[in-house]
């Protein structure tokens, strides 16, 4: 039997090894299944709402269509559906999608008052995060690596086999053992991902990036475990040191980093923008209409001279109030967005230092389920909302009737294309960290030749 075959047999005969691998396989499979279920739920919700939306719009059409239909009523009652369907890799890395809205119905009123009008979620339930494949990769994989690798050397020393093993003429024992464990752990982690990817018809390139991230992140933890396992005298101290590393690298330091980022870059709440916009709109009722129109004409000079109307109320004045309301908070909205982007930038920078954060950033970026993906969805809503306004304003300011035929021309939201991207630098940094740890671990293990001389005299 060749050494690798013998090593594989030895590895597979250990109940502990099999139990750890099976546990990881079950966790990974459960996480992929949970991710697929969540994606199916989101798709079902979108489908359900889309059907309701069609019924709703038909009702608005029936109520308001006519030869002299008023566009103001239509624009007021006709909510238009925007949606952000789960990207192909969302099943593996749900990211922000369990917290941020993926459905929003908007109308031609003020955008800022609608943009953050999503369902409130229970913050205590949101705290632990979602159980998806990315969670298993970042938080649970290292624990399995520690379980399988912490006593790679110390276990042999404690049982007294180390001198016998070192006295044999063959070489590459530790390399074979580490590579075998590494491959087994990766297989247990990745096989469910591949099955999930096939079920979800996910793009091969995206799956490859997820696997590459797992390969590097797993290598980092194996290197670290090898280093600690060879440097420590007993399995207990090696395990304690590694669990300490896990707590620091995956829990404490990322939490402290996020707290520091939150402190360094305060971000206003979206609801504050909603309230500020509404305040401007509400004040509009109490100030002379001319003031509202003058502010409106700054951005829409093409409608100057069409502001006159009879009576106390006209929809064009009402929509101008909303437009002005949005413009009044535009600076705050831009600042809000810039703060989110700044936080995202800092989180990426944190990923250069912490492999756990770096890996998380890579998988969520390629899956397009991070803040950047959310902002892209908001941008697409804003662009769609601008199209809605541009569609209705000629009816309102030119006093054109809104007929049944016009309903078909109301702009419909086009689903944005998922824009997951490859984080080359985070992956490169992760690769460097993995290589460094593997190098240090291998170097420490290569010194074990002298370990046989632990007995003196």
């Amino acid at each position: 039997m060749n050494p690798l075959g013998a090593e594989t047999r030895l590895f597979l005969r250990s109940g502990r090894n099999i139990a750890a691998l099976l546990l990881l396989l079950v966790l990974s499979a459960t996480a992929v299944w949970a991710g697929i279920a969540e994606v199916a739920n989101q798709r079902a919700a979108i489908e359900r709402v889309a059907q309701e939306q069609a019924r709703d719009l038909a009702a608005v059409e029936d109520a308001n269509a006519g030869p002299q239909g008023d566009a103001g009523y239509v624009a007021y009652y006709a909510f238009m559906l925007t949606q952000d369907p789960p990207p192909p890799l969302a099943f593996a890395a749900i990211g922000q999608r369990d917290l941020q809205p993926y459905l929003l119905r908007v109308r031609a009123l003020g955008l800022e008052a609608q943009l953050y009008d999503s369902e409130a979620y229970n913050p205590e339930l949101a705290l632990p995060g979602v159980f998806d494949w990315a969670f298993v990769l970042i938080y649970l994989l290292p624990l399995v690596v520690i379980a399988l690798g912490h006593d790679l050397v110390t276990g042999e020393r404690e049982t007294g086999r180390l001198r016998l093993l070192l006295s044999l003429p063959g070489d590459g024992l530790w390399r074979r053992r580490a590579v075998l464990r590494y491959a087994a752990v990766l297989a247990a982690l990745v096989i469910p991902l591949l099955v999930g990817g096939a079920i979800m018809a996910a793009p091969a390139g995206g799956i490859a990036v997820l696997i590459l991230t797992a390969v590097l992140y797993c290598a980092f933890w194996f290197g670290l475990t090898l280093l600690a396992g060879a440097a420590m005298r007993t399995s207990a101290t090696a395990a304690t040191a590694m669990v300490g590393c896990w707590i620091m690298l995956t829990l404490v330091l990322p939490t402290l980093g996020n707290a520091a980022i939150a402190r360094a870059v305060p971000v206003a709440k979206g609801i504050d923008l909603t309230l500020a916009q509404r305040e401007v709109v509400h004040r509009g009722w109490d100030i002379p209409k001319e003031q509202t129109f003058e502010r409106f004409f700054v951005s829409h000079p093409e409608w100057r001279g069409r502001e006159e109307f009879e009576g106390r109320f006209h929809w064009k004045w009402y929509y101008a109030m909303h437009q002005v309301g949005d413009e009044a908070v535009a600076e705050d909205a831009a600042e809000y967005r810039a703060s989110l982007e700044r936080r995202e930038d800092l989180t990426r920078a944190l990923g250069f230092v912490l492999p756990s954060v770096g890996s998380m950033n890579v998988v969520h970026r390629i899956a397009d389920t991070d803040i950047e993906g959310q902002l892209a969805y908001r941008d697409s809503i804003a662009a769609f909302h601008a199209r809605l306004r541009a569609f209705y304003y000629p009816y309102l300011f030119a006093d054109r009737p809104f007929t049944r035929a016009d309903f078909a021309m109301i702009p419909r939201y086009s689903v944005r294309t998922a824009q997951g991207s490859l984080g080359v630098w985070p992956l490169a940094i992760l690769a460097l960290a993995a290589l460094l740890m593997i190098g240090l671990g291998a170097r420490r293990v290569s010194r074990l030749g002298g370990e046989g001389s632990a007995r003196t005299g």
Binding site: A6, E7, R9, L10, R13, G449, G457
Partner: protein, 246 residues
């Protein structure tokens, strides 16, 4: 014409080694020939384990020469280790594997693929009951484990056997069986270096006995050709003088 002699199985000449500032070996010289059983006796700290470490290439001696079948264990560890089998004091193999599987595994590590028949033959030779061959080692006694380790050494079919306190913890019957195994090894022209505290066991089986004290061989005695192999009483006195209890 130059005559090429086969190098001795083990040759150590003027070996010095220290751990930190503490000198352990101070000019150790010994030779073990093929087919010879050499018992190295010495008290705690005399340098027995350091001698084994030097032979196994675990340490690089400060000065002196170490050769195993003519090979330097430090400069060519793989080649040197291919010539010798080491049986540690406390034999610890993989408890979740059987005797056959353990030997197969260690042979694979040593890149010495001898086949199942060779493994069975070695197990038979060491006298391990056949019904135990496929049982996990977790149920084995210390003597049985040692037999598996010796069987591994025999299966490797190497010219040099290094034994670290081989009779420690064995009952008298097991010691007798062990001595029989060493006889077998001697018959195969295997050189055996056994490091031990056990004077009686050494007297029973060794061809030569070396007294290691203060880092060097203070005295060597050879088995007598006729009659009692060694004068146990004289050896005991010698051992006691060296400050070691037999």
């Amino acid at each position: 014409m130059i005559a090429h002699e086969t190098p001795p199985a083990i040759r150590i000449a003027d070996l010095h080694h220290s751990y930190g500032a503490k000198p352990i070996l101070k000019g150790l010289t010994l030779t073990v020939r093929h087919g010879e059983i050499y018992a190295l006796l010495g008290g705690n700290g005399a340098g027995k384990s350091t001698t084994l470490n030097a032979l196994l290439g675990f340490i690089a001696p400060a000065s002196g020469t170490v050769r195993v079948c003519g090979t330097d264990p430090v400069a060519q560890p793989r080649q040197a280790r291919a010539q010798m089998a080491y049986v540690p004091e406390n034999v610890s193999l993989y408890d979740h594997l059987s005797a056959r599987e353990n030997i197969g595994y260690f042979l694979a590590l040593a890149k010495a693929d001898r086949g199942a028949d060779a493994i069975d033959e070695a197990l038979r030779e060491v006298g391990l009951p056949a019904d135990a061959w496929d049982k996990r080692l977790s149920g084995y006694s210390k003597g049985m484990r040692q037999k598996v380790a010796i069987a591994l050494a025999l299966a490797r079919d190497v010219p040099v056997l290094l034994l670290d306190e081989p009779t420690s913890g064995l009952d008298p019957r097991a010691v007798l069986e062990f001595n029989r195994l060493l006889d077998t090894a001697r018959a195969r022209k295997v050189a055996v270096l056994m490091v031990t505290h056990d004077l009686v066991s050494a007297v029973d089986i060794a061809d030569r006995i070396g007294f290691l004290a203060d880092g060097r061989i203070e005295e060597e005695r050879e088995a007598l050709a006729t009659g009692a192999r060694f004068d146990l009483n004289a050896l005991h006195d010698r051992y006691a003088r060296a400050g070691v209890s037999a």
